[in-house]
Symmetry: C2
Subunit: 152 residues, 2 copies
């Protein structure tokens, strides 16, 4: 086991964004390795989870929840549809819109992937106790909200 203790980047460690970027890169790499066997990546796993959590989810609503632009969601949904994990059906109320739902296969893949993601998550936060971890998640949400405010 090797822990790098080089303090040469100390001047940057003072900024939250620097640590955030490095922690995120670490987690993203590990998460994508975790999801690859399931044919998923971070963003498509997120999409699949949200589709599983909502009845007849609108594509526009999903893009909003994922905070991605609609054109980028199209590619992700094409991927999930080709893999047989989701279905898109025209909304009865508005024939422009699509309602997205999991297929039986999608439900199975999501359950399996979720187990591995939970393992990944435990691995990444092994050194942090439950209370601190909850505080960490709460603070990250505060940072996220801070950026969506006007400079008030």
């Amino acid at each position: 086991m090797t822990i790098v203790k080089d303090p040469s980047d100390a001047p940057l460690r003072a900024y939250l964004g620097y640590g955030l970027k490095r922690a995120f890169n670490t987690i993203q790499t590990d998460l994508n390795e975790t999801l690859r066997p399931h044919g998923l990546r971070m963003i498509s796993f997120s999409a699949l989870s949200l589709i599983g959590a909502h009845e007849r989810l609108r594509q526009s609503k999903l893009a909003e929840l994922l905070t991605i632009e609609p054109p980028n969601l199209v590619v992700i949904l094409d991927e999930l549809e080709r893999a047989g994990l989701i279905e898109k059906t025209r909304a009865m109320a508005d024939r422009r819109a699509y309602e997205i739902s999991l297929t039986a296969e999608g439900t199975k893949v999501l359950a399996r992937a979720r187990k591995d993601v939970e393992g990944h998550d435990r691995r990444m936060t092994r050194a942090i106790n439950a209370e601190d971890r909850a505080a960490l998640v709460r603070m990250l949400e505060q940072v996220e909200r801070q950026g969506s405010r006007e400079h008030d």
Copy 2:
């Protein structure tokens, strides 16, 4: 001021990577806006800071500190050199290597940019007190280290 309270992504809020990604996206957007007037972006500001903190920094060492691949650093340094902020001189000890240092102009730009980055940082962490903020930074470092370990 608007705070989004839509709990529709609750199933994903359980995973650290999800919150980390969202917080990082928020910070990166704000930081890049902060740095644009200085002709810098997150990665080039980081490079400039490290060059300023080390005498005759080797290009290979800088890539390692920034955790980026050497080919990607070439582009960043070209950018900083064209802007007149850094100088590359051949190392006397090893004529393959370059030693990077700030120009007088680079020193000035770095000082000005750093002030704005500190403002950005205070803005992003306004809702978090000093003690919690220190804990946040420490936990992010733990997460980063966790990923660089073998699965032990």
